[in-house]
């Protein structure tokens, strides 16, 4: 039985539905590394620190695995892979909940620079980010938490060859530890441009925010006449920003399905182990069927996240719409899966000592980061011109 008679998205022939052998091998190696370096105890240790990551692990992840530049072209010091490989990395990071400035620096900032900077700026900025030597991040939303670029108010005023930034950004991932900030700001009260500024520049004040999800730090950053460099040739960086946000949505969706899959596995193994009323709770149909529903949910979300990465990789014209699908579906699935995983664990699942809440909180923070599911569904409809 066909599930959809005529899919609206014409599934392009050039899109792959399976990972290659090499990609699977890459995933396996990465998973082994992360199981070794980021067991839950280590996650708990790092999430309690202000810095929020282990520089030694970051170094190995950069030097041995070249992860921060996985999707950065080789001429800028990267590994020259694309969105599919980035998706694999994010999925595995989501699974292991590694505490590291990967999403901020490699996904958000590097993508923004690749999308918006001049050739010279790319040559200048990307190699250090790709090598993991420079930690960068991207500042988009402001105090209202609105992800629509039209809501950006932070001002960039031309001053000589540079710009002065004035205003406040919030929800900046790893904003407290990044060395380099890429900031979306309104130039001349009109266009939205991307600007680069060292985090220690004069007029930049950073404050770590208390996130519900301590495995991913966020900061508020105030700019007072802070001197920044325009990225790209033009003050109109809206397309670059928008593309960056879509890529980040695809990456985050893959991270989320990685986390959801991990939760599902933990729920299944608990259900097989836990005995109540003389039998494994996984033998009760209520639990069996709940787990089956969770599996369906997670697999469907995975398909969307994978397709989005494949479509983005080949620049399928539909990919920005599919990015919306992927972010919305993965958010809903991750939150549901986390809630049900707690439910299956019962009281134990609600304790601090049980690891489930680490993923639950990541699910909640990811649900709203880059925009809630509703926001992305509405954006999907707009992109489809419904």
């Amino acid at each position: 039985m066909s599930t959809a008679d005529k899919p609206v998205v014409e599934s392009a022939q050039h899109i792959r539905y399976a990972f290659t052998e090499e990609q699977e091998q890459f995933r396996t190696a990465l998973r082994r590394f992360l199981e070794d370096k980021s067991p839950p105890l280590e996650v708990r240790r790092l999430m309690a620190t202000a810095q929020g990551y282990d520089p030694a692990v970051w170094r190995r992840l950069s030097e041995d695995l070249a992860l921060p530049g996985i999707h950065v072209p080789q001429q800028y010091g990267g590994a020259g892979f694309g969105m599919v490989e980035l998706g694999i990395v994010m999925e595995e990071l989501g699974r292991s909940l590694l505490c590291a400035p990967y999403f901020s620096s490699a996904v958000l900032a590097a993508s923004a620079i690749m999308n918006g900077a001049t050739e010279e700026q790319k040559r200048d900025l990307l190699p250090d980010i790709a090598a993991g030597l420079q930690l960068a991040t991207l500042a988009v939303t402001e105090l209202d938490g609105n992800w629509d670029p039209r809501a950006i108010r932070l001002k960039a005023t031309r001053a000589g060859g540079n710009y002065l930034l004035e205003g406040v950004k919030s929800y900046v991932v790893d904003g407290h530890t990044a060395n380099l900030l890429v900031v979306a700001a309104r130039a001349a009260d009109r266009d939205i441009g991307l600007f680069a500024i060292p985090a220690d520049a004069a007029g930049v004040a950073r404050e770590l925010l208390a996130s519900m999800d301590p495995t991913r730090k966020i900061a508020r950053i105030e700019f007072k006449a802070a001197r920044a460099q325009l990225l790209g040739d033009s003050e109109d960086g809206l397309n670059a920003l928008s593309r960056t946000l879509d890529q980040a949505a695809v990456a985050l969706a893959n991270e989320m399905v990685g986390g959801a899959q991990k939760l599902l596995e933990s729920a299944v193994s608990y259900a097989k182990m836990r005995v109540q009323f003389g039998r494994e709770i996984g033998s009760f149909q209520a639990i069996k069927h709940k787990l089956a529903d969770m599996l369906v949910d997670v697999e469907l979300a995975k398909s969307t996240a994978y397709y989005a990465a494949q479509a983005a990789a080949v620049e399928d014209p539909e990919w920005p719409a599919i990015a919306c699908m992927a972010k919305a579906a993965a958010s809903d699935t991750y939150v549901r899966t986390a809630a049900e995983t707690i439910q299956i664990h019962g009281g134990i699942g609600f304790t601090w000592d049980n690891d489930t809440h680490l993923w639950f909180k990541r699910a909640k923070s990811s649900e709203v980061f880059l925009g809630q599911p509703n926001y992305h569904r509405e954006l999907l409809m707009q992109r489809w011109r419904v």
């Binding site: 599930t3 998205v9 399976a18 398909s303 699908m325």
Partner: protein, 414 residues
Amino acid sequence: MSEISEDEVRREVRAWLAENWDPNLSLLAWRNKLADSGWGMPQWPRQWYGRGLPARMVRIVEEEFAAVGAIGCLRGGIGRLAAAVLLEHGTDYQKQKFLRRIITAEDTWCQLFSEPGSGSDLAGATTRADFDGKNWIINGQKVWTTSAHHAKWGTLLARTDWDAPKHEGLSYFILDMKQPGVDVQPLRQMNGHASFNQVFFNDAVVPPEHLVSTVNNGWQVAVTTLAYERRFAADIARPSRRGPREGRIYEEERAETATVMEPYKWYPQRAGRVDLIIERARETGANHDPVVRQEIARLMTLAQAAEWTARRARAAQSQGRPQGPEGSLGKLAASHVARGCARVHTMITGTAAMLTGADSPRNGVIAEILVSVPAVSIAGGTDEIQRNIIAERVLGLPKEPRFDTGPFRNIRRN
């Protein structure tokens, strides 16, 4: 037998078609040629109307048929299933008697498995076959039989041992539908269609040579059948025919297709017609309602995800990798999509969703969606059965405690 190359096959079939294909033949005459030559079922053995080709070469034959617009054998249908089962389990007598007329489509077949008392629990069949010393005498009732009123033959699962355990007392027969002891009644559904039949057996007769496999091995044969059913269902893509479509044979084929497809004409509505959603929203203006937009986006995402999941499963398979969990959830996902469609179509259509028939939106199609969707989560294994399968086979969770062991006679049933 030496391996034949793809190129050789292509050359051979092309030559044969050049010589034999004629759109002005009767369908029957052409299908007889197919049976004689083996090109209708190239993967079947040479002695049984085939050419003994490996399965992967079927595609080549089909491409060449399509290239000249040639008609093949009936692709779907119970006859095809019966043939697969007979090739695996049948006697030479049975192959001789039935296979050719399946290929030529002179005989229509139906499947007599489900009963009123055994739906989800197919192995609980209570239709009985008793040997009277000469023949098997059949009594009981089957249900959900497609095309029983057209069928000449039925594949029948009947109980032959009431003291054996449930799965070990069933036998598999081929039953002549056109006999006095067989009464076929249409079964009307809540959506007004009658795509299925009920079949009543009152001392119907099956000669012993129509027993397939051995007595009490019927469940194994039925399982084979169901496996073929899934395999054939997955095997849907067929190269589209090129060239003009004129000639007597095309007329006859169109009539044949119409008859075969008649019971399935509401299946697109049963699936919820996700293809209509956006069109309908634009048509009614519901596309401007932010609440409906959310629902549409949610549903389209689900439908796409289901589609992509199916493709993911096929892609893994085609790379020779074991299929992951994504291969087992299509039915359940389809059921979610269908239910979602019914909901969203109602939201889009508003008050007019209470209409039906010619005056109603899309000439009754919307109404038919609403009253057909409930079938999706039931037919071919309920959602509950699907969840059990996923939980036990994919996730490896413990099986249900069994209450149906021991002699069938003692098992509780309706």
